[in-house]
Every structure is written in C-alpha cells, then in structure tokens.
C-alpha cells in the first residue's frame, strides 16, 4: 500500500473525529478540516507533492460546483437588494485592507508587497458562502430579509473572488497589458462555458443516452478540458473550473443524479483540500500572529460595521442591517483558494499565508459563536446607538390612522399576509400591516390602508401599529424569536402565531398564544379529504386537478402569487 493512502487515512480519520466535535456544537466543518490539517501536518505524515495535487482537485471541484449553481438571476437579486452595500463594503474595507496589507508587507519585507496587499485585502473583505449559508440556514429558508441580504452579499463576494483570482494569476501586476489579456481570456472562457451550456451539454446527454455515469464522467471531462485550457493560456485553473461549471446544466431529469454525483466527489476532494491547507501551516511566527490579529479585527469588526452602515443607507431597518452584516464576518473559503494559488506561485510571504489560514479557521468558528449572542449585542449596543434615527425613519415611512382601535395587526405582507388583508377589507375590519422588506414597500403603500414599515422585532414599530389597543395580532412569519417577542409585548389582544412544527407551536400555546398556525396541520384536513376522494374513486383525479388549477389561476389573477412570480 502506498504512502499516500496512509497519509489519506491519517487525514480522514483525524478529520472524522474532529467533525464529530463540530457536529456536536453545530459548527461548520471547514475550520475543523483546517484544524485536522494543523494536527496531521505537525505529525509529519502529510508531506507529499501528490497531496497538493489532490488538493488542487479540491479547489477545482469547489469552484466547479459553484459555477454549476450560479444562476444569473442571482446577479439581478444582488442589484435589487444590496448593490450599495456590496460595492461600498468592497471599496471601503477593500481599500483599508489593501493599505494595511501593503504597510505590513513593506514592514515585514515581503518580496511582492502589492500582491501580498491584495491577498490580505481579499481575506479581509470577502465572506464565506459555505459558512454563512450554514449559519443562516433557517433565516434563508423562512426568507427573512436579513437572510436574503446576506446570501446576496455572499454571492457577490464569490464573484469578486473569482475576478481577483483571474487578475492575480498574471505574472506581473505592473503590466496592464498582461492583466487585460487575462481578463480577456476570462471572458472568453465564460463565453465558451455558455456556448457549451447551450449546445454542447445537451449533446453529451444525448450521446450518453441519459446514462448517469457517463454524463457524470462527461461533466468531469469538461472540467478537465477547461482546466487544461486555462493552464495552456496561463490563467488560473479556478477560472477554468468556474467556466466549466457554467457549462453544466443543472435542470432536467438526469440532472439530479449528476449533481448529486459531482457534489459527492467534491465533498471528498474539498475535505482533502482544506486539510492539506491546514497541514501547510508552519509554527506561527511573530509576523503571522500580527497579520492574523489584524485580519481578525478587520473581518470581525470593521467589515460588519461598514456593511451595517451601508445597509442602513439603503433603507433597511437597523436590526436587519445588523443581523445581515453580523453573518458576513468570516474569511471566505475562496480567500483560502487565493492564498494557496499565491503559495503555488510563490508570491505570498510565509507569514501572510499562515495568517490567512489561521484567521479563516478562527473566524469561521467565531462566526457561529457570535450568531448565538447577536440578539444580546443588538439589544445592548446597536439598538441604543441608532434609536433616534430608527423612529424617525419608521415614522416617515408608515401610515396609521390616529385613532385606530380594536383593529387587527397583521405581521408580514407575504402571500398569507396579502390574503388575510384581502379578507379583512371585505369584512371591513380595521387593520395595520407591519412589514420590513423594502421590496414590498411600494405595494404596502398602494394596497394597504394602514401600515408600519419597520421590523416587528423592534419595539417602536409595534407601538406605532398600536398593538396595545388592537383586538387581534396575526403573525404570518414562522420565526420563533419573533413569535416569542410578540407574546411578550404588553397587550390584551389575542395573538395568532405561525410555527413550522407542532413542537414549537405547543410551546407558543403554553406561553399564551390564542392559536398557532402550523401549515402542515391546517392543510392536513383538506389533504386527507383529497386522498380519500382519489383512493375511493380514481376517476375523480381529473376533476380534482382541474379544480385546483382553476383556483391557482384565480390566485394569480388577483395578485396573490409569490413575489418572484409576479414580477
């Protein structure tokens, strides 16, 4: 058995043991891979050039899958939600970090100060999609505004990272011609990817007769071809892998299996990549520690602060702005890719390389820890700082009748909220809608008699909606902290909440909710009826289907489809 298999065994067994720890505390696996690398690296098992090659496959697959998942509508959503914040942060934090990084590079006598400054800045500025999406899983799923914002920014950062890699793979940064030619190649690769997506990939599916294994191998062959082309013209393999990802279709019947397959292979190699990266770290020098500390300061404090201010400027409420930015406080996995590319080119100083990897591992863990205290930090610090501004902003953007009384407060103006408001208008019961999504602001203005534009988690918007005088509060948002917050608010009004599971619902009922809307429970009656109907009489199916399609048609006609469908 070869040495390499022994090295892999040591790496995976160490990582496996550490992952059990990560899972127990709910951390992202990535920092634990890096730690596994630090341990195995110190033990001296993992010192082989072949491993670096396997790790490169990790990079290729990481970016490849990112390319496959890219949906160009996402770019649109960045521009809809977060363009100011994204660019402001990039400019401000990016420039601060470049200056700081350059200073350090000169001070520590790095061979290529400008390059080191860029590597440093990339690590300080960009945030991690994998960790961020893990931390915000529930928020993104229930489509809370801050979850959506954060994932837009993550996406933006990933695209920026690809761009940075494209530029730094030029041999000299002082030669504008070389950089432009690199960018030109990048564009060409993208176009080739798109062309293949249109014409090449369907051809492959047809040639393989829909046989999953061959489509999978074909997809990997496309990856290899693009990587080889990238190496041939002298740009980073990352660009090749990304463009190859663009070429792969992720829709259609076979796509599910093929995507599963590629993701499994990616997970295997990516683990090797992160562990190898960790194993490359030496015993930290003074230089590495100073650089790591300043990276931590930039990533954990400066960058979230700039993000918060930029979000506020864009019209988000304080809480959303704070929560969105506080989930952007970690070093991106693509910054590690940048670092290792630089390490292969031998243009990064050892200290900076170690610092970036250590800072990445640290921030990825801290980010998860910080998440647990963010509400505390928000209430004790942030809310106080911005209170005056916040009430002014809410007042300017809300419309509530002066003497409204005995009304219904509807929290959330999504599909459920809209249908409820519609019914209340028919019943001529007065209501106030509370919503904080800027995307829905125009509709609030047009459709609702009374509305408060602010976050229901903060107290002022609820005061403004006169919850104390309301007869009923109905929340359409299934987010436990919000539900508990509404129950704690002082009012005689009955409170109807929403929860995803019966367990949460039971808890809310026990704490005084009049009723909890658990969609699965409410829907089950109707569903049971339908199942019974179909089982007893199989001919009933067509009628059932047509009836339902008609209902759906009506919903659409009256504007109750989801926001993305209506635009």
């Amino acid at each position: 058995m070869s040495e390499l298999i022994i090295a892999l065994s040591v790496m995976f067994v160490t990582a496996g043991a550490l992952l059990l720890v990560a899972n127990h505390f709910g951390f992202s696996p990535i920092p634990f891979y890096i730690i596994a690398g630090l341990i195995t690296g110190a033990s001296g098992f993992v010192d082989q050039p072949d491993l670096i090659e396997l790790a490169q496959w990790g990079i290729a697959f990481l970016v490849f899958v990112f390319g496959i998942q890219v949906d160009f509508n996402d770019i649109q959503s960045v521009f809809r939600d977060a363009e100011v914040a994204a660019f402001t942060q990039l400019l401000i934090v990016g420039s601060i970090a470049t200056v700081v990084g350059y200073g350090f590079a000169v001070f520590f006598g790095a061979e290529y100060p400008l390059r080191n400054a860029i590597y440093f800045a990339a690590a300080a500025t960009l945030s991690s999609t994998i960790v961020g999406a893990g931390v915000l899983e529930r928020e993104i799923r229930s489509n809370l505004v801050h979850g959506r914002l954060a994932s837009s920014i993550h996406f933006f950062d990933d695209m920026v990272a690809i761009g940075v890699i494209l530029v730094i793979s030029a041999e000299t940064l002082s030669d504008p011609q070389l950089i432009t030619s690199n960018i030109g190649y990048g564009v060409l690769f993208l176009l080739a990817g798109l062309l293949l997506y249109r014409h090449g990939f369907p051809l492959l599916v047809r040639a393989a007769d829909g046989f999953e294994e061959l489509i999978l191998m074909g997809s990997i062959s496309i990856l290899i071809a693009f990587i080889a082309a990238a190496e041939a013209v002298g740009i980073s393999i990352v660009i090749g892998a990304f463009a190859a990802g663009i070429a792969i279709r992720s829709d259609g019947a076979q796509a599910l299996g093929v995507r599963n397959g590629i993701e499994s292979i990616r997970d295997f190699f990516v683990a090797i990549f992160f562990i190898t990266v960790g194993a490359l770290v030496q015993i930290p020098t003074f230089e590495a520690l100073v650089l790591a500390a300043s990276l931590l300061a930039l990533v954990l404090f400066v960058s979230p602060l700039v993000h918060t201010l930029a979000f506020l400027y864009e019209g988000y409420d304080t809480r959303t702005a704070f929560l969105a930015s506080s989930s952007l406080n970690q070093v991106s996995e693509l910054s590690l890719v940048i670092a290792i590319q630089a390490w292969l080119l031998q243009t990064i100083s050892d200290g900076l390389f170690d610092a970036i990897i250590l800072a990445a591992a640290a921030t990825m863990i801290l980010s998860v820890v910080a998440k647990r205290y963010e509400d505390l930090v928000y209430h004790t610090i942030v809310e106080r700082l911005f209170r005056g501004r916040q009430t002014r902003y809410v007042d300017e953007h809300s419309r509530v009748e002066e003497e409204i009384d005995g009304h219904v407060v509807v929290v959330g103006y999504g599909r459920q909220g809209r249908l409820l408001v519609n019914r209340l208008e028919k019943l001529e019961v007065p209501y106030v809608v509370v919503e904080n999504d800027p995307v829905l602001y125009d509709e609030l203005q047009l459709d609702c008699k009374n509305y408060v534009f602010g976050d229901a988690m903060a107290s002022y918007p609820l005061e403004r909606a006169r919850v104390a005088d309301a007869e009923l509060v109905v929340s359409t948002v299934d987010h436990m902290p919000l539900s508990t917050h509404l129950l704690e608010f002082e009012t005689d009004a009955d409170v109807i909440l929403r929860a995803e599971s019966s367990r949460d619902a039971t808890q809310l009922l026990d704490s005084g909710a009049a009723f909890v809307n658990v969609p699965n429970v409410l829907a089950s009656d109707q569903l049971l009826d339908n199942v019974e109907q179909v089982i007893e009489n199989e001919d009933a199916t067509t009628a059932l289907k047509n009836e339902h399609l008609e209902v759906l048609g009506n919903l659409e006609r009256y504007g109750f489809a989801s926001r993305f469908e209506r635009t």
Partner: protein, 583 residues
Amino acid sequence: MDQIALAADFAIIIVVATMIGLIARRLGQPTIVAYIATGVVLGPVLFDIVTDEGLVDVMAELGLGFLLFLLGMKMRFDDIREILTPITNIAIGQTVLQTALAFLVAWALGFQTTEILVIALATVFGATPIIVKVLTDKDEITSLPGKIDVGVLIVQDIYLVVVLALFAADSLDNAGEIASTLAVIFVMMGFIGLFSILSSRYLLPRIFRRIADNKDIFLIVAIAWAFLFIAIAEGFNLSVEVGAFLAGISLAQLPYSKELEDRITPITDFFILVFFASIGLQIEGAASLFAYWQEAVIASVILMIGNFWIMFYLIDREGFSVETSFLGSINMVQVSEFSLVVGALAITQGYIGADVLGYLTLMALMTMTVSTYIIAYNHAIYERLAPWFSRFESDEKVDRNLRTYKNHAVAIGYDEVTERALPLLEERYGEVVVVDRKTSHIAELEENGRYEYVFGDFRHSEVRKAAGLKNAKFVLSSSVQTDVNEALLDEVGDDAIVFAEAERIHDARSLYRNGATYVIMNTYLTASKLSDYLEQYFTDREAFEEIISQDIERIRRRGRSRAESERTGVDIEFDPRKLGGDD
C-alpha cells in the same frame, strides 16, 4: 506559470475513457470494456502516453477500496441470513474445484512445476469489480443470483488475501512456516471482523444517530470510518480491500446506509474507472502478452466452461431454482483481477517469468471482456437455453424469497401532513413505506413498528429504489423541492397516484404537467383556512373557539410525540439561492 499540472496522466485517462465510453454506449457495449480499452490504448501496447505509477496507481487502489466499501455497505445481515449457509458451501466448493481444474489445465498445457502451482493458485474465477459493476448497472446486484455471487466472491476474497499473504512470505518451502503465516492471517482477520461487528452493534448507532442529520459530516465521517479500517488492515499487512469491505459491512447494519450508498457510488465510479484503465496499462507490450496466446485461448475456453459447470452444480445442489443456478453461474465466468496481482507478486518473488504473467493477463482480459457481455445479456442467454436446462428442474427446488415491495404506498417525509394520511393508505394499499431524512423521525417509526421506513434524502436514487418507488401505487410527497418531485414523477409507474407539494404556483403547474395527481400548496390552503378562521373570529366567536380547539388538540398531541422531541432542523438538503417563498 508553473502550476502543478492537473492535466496529468489520470486526467488524460478520464477524458479518453469518457470518449471511448460514449462510443461504447452508442454501440450498446458495457462501460467496463471501454475503460479497460482506455488502458490498452494509452498504455505500452498502443500509444504509451500514460503509466500506471504515482497518482494513477493510488487512485486505482482507492477505486478498488471504495468499490469494496460500497459492496460491504450493501451486505445487510438481515437480507442474506437465509442464504448464508448455502453461500458458504458454494464458495468453499468452488474455490477447491476450480483451483483443481486450473491446476489440471496448466499441467496439461505443459508448464513447469512452480509455474503450474502459481497459475493454479492465481487463476481464481469471479472478478469482483466486474460482477459488482455490471450487476449494479443492471440493477441486479440485490437479486438472488446477484447475492449468491457476491457472497461467493467475498468468501473468495478472503481466500485470495490468504494466497497473497502466502506469496508475500519469504519462502514457501517450509510447511510449518506456511501454517504459522496462515494462522496469523486468520487471527488478524478475525480480530478486524470482530471489531467491525462489535462497533456496528454498540458504537456506530450512537455516533451516526447524532451525525446522520448533517449531510456533509455524515459522508466524511463514513469515509473516515473506511480509512480507519484501511489503516488497521494495513497495520496487519492485509489489503486495502479487506479493510474497506469490513468497514462497509459494519455501516450496512445501520438504518442510514441507503443514502450513503448513493453518495459513495459516484466517488467509486470516478476512481474505479482509473482502476479498470490501469488493468489495460499493466500490459507491458504485445510480445510477452502473446507469448503463450494459444495456451491462453485454450485455457480460457476450458476454464470458462468448466467453471460454469462447477458453479452450476454447486448452486443447484443447494436446491435453488434452475434459473437462479444458471444466472449465478454464468455471471462468474471470468478470471479475477487478483490473478494479475498474484502474478505480479510471483514475478517479483522470482517464481515465474514475464511470459507467464502475460499468459495470466491475456486470459484475464479475454475472459473479462467476454463475460461482461455474458453478464449484460444473461437473461437473454438463459431464455435461449432454458428448454435444454429444464431437465435439471424438480419440484423441490425453490428460491428463497427476497422481500420486495409491490403495489404499496410511499410517503416522503414524516410530518403532520403525511402522518394523518398513513392509516388511510395502509388500509387501502396494505403496505406503507415512509422515507425520511431525520434520525428522530426514523427512531419514532422504528418504535412504532407499524410502517416500513427508509432513512435518506429522496433526491438519491438509491433511496428511491429502496422504497420501491417504481412499483408503488400511491406516492405522497411532502417535499417542496421541485427537482425531487420531478425526479419522482419521472420514475413512478404510469398508473400511480402522486400527491406532491409545491411552494409556488409556477412549480405546481409544472408538477401537474409532469403527471402529478394533486399538488399540495400549504401556503394557500393555510391562508384560506386562516382567513376563514379570522372571519369567524369577528362574526361568530363561539364557532371560532370550537374549531381552533380541534386544531390545538392535534398540535399538542403531535408536539408531545418523539419525532418532534429534538431541535427541528431542515430535513431536506436545500440550496439557499433557489429558495424564497415570500410568506
């Protein structure tokens, strides 16, 4: 720019193998043949571009390791308990008889004494990678003949490990030394096997119950488990395959193994391609390959036919039906890839020369290639020959039944929606299989004991297969993932009733177009119901109280159940960018 070239040997192998594979697919040939041909084309025989050293060698070894790991994962003791004794009898008989046959053939062809000994020991019939791969592709690996073959192959692998260890020993002269070497090997294997069984009973259920909810960690910890065994096997001087196989077996006994199978399969496919290509690469050149070509052809023909009859006799003797005996035997008519390994080892020990290895290689290549077609068309061949073989039939011979689902109901996700529908479905369809990706839900189903269950994400084909989706009469999906539901609709039978869930109207329409019977849209169902409640709140407060009290009772009952007792997490994998129902 001096990056480490990814366009290395092994990248070339993958690209060329894909191209040859696509051509082979068009011609209706199995992919394995294409992969071996890739090795021949790229290796010393034709273009000599690629060598099987360095990373290629490692990847080939990993491929074999993963294949055996995967194979182990399919071995659930509960499934093979009934056929365990016959398998053991067959395997032992087969090993003895076919070694004897190989010995006779080699002797008759006039090889020298040592050579005859090596050839007899090295010519083992039944190549695990080929049989497993082709049968898996044909979805027959868990059929009765498939299980018999795999069982025999495993016993054979143990035998091969012994042979390998013997060849690796410094001398074969001393009977006492051979005996002690053998004893050490058996003790070691017993030790690892015991560790594997004990951990699958006591350690693994605990570990995996905690981590199975997290997809990525689940996969990597499982791989780490395989590597742990590989490392232990290495520590005892056993092969990678033995370790990986035992690791797989210990995982197979957990209720979570189905999804894992589907996640390991692509990694295996990726590496095993390199393995098959490396078989082709090992051929050093036409000269030594064809040195004994006449002998190889004669031996191949005699051994293929002889071994078929040996297997047929042995399986038939255990009282299986003629068809099972036929299929189980005809799948096994190729020389094992181990004969190349044994041969290579024998060369380095100086027992044989390059020409004898060429003879072994040619025989392996010929029988492997031919048998791939035989396995691929095994049913067609049987149909042709069935009239003649019917003379072996008798009334006592019946196959042990392996359980399969048919005309049953499948529920995806165990939540409030499906839970209430299950009794109804059970009453109508008799058998209900619930698929869920949360360990706590599975634990409740296990405790409850009323319904069958499969742990795993429905997006994995292995999981869909385990639930018997193709034969289901009724499918109730509470997953809102459009791609999962579309894959489901693609796979079910034409007359199956499918209830699926969707988040958006657009998705609901597309599900209807793909043949869904009814699309559940919780958001709207709930919204209209809630609006009704609201109306009652303002018009008839008593009716409101009445109606919500029923719902509340239901919520409380469900809230107390064990399935809800743990933190509610996301029970299906999701892509954050693809979501966003704005409600």
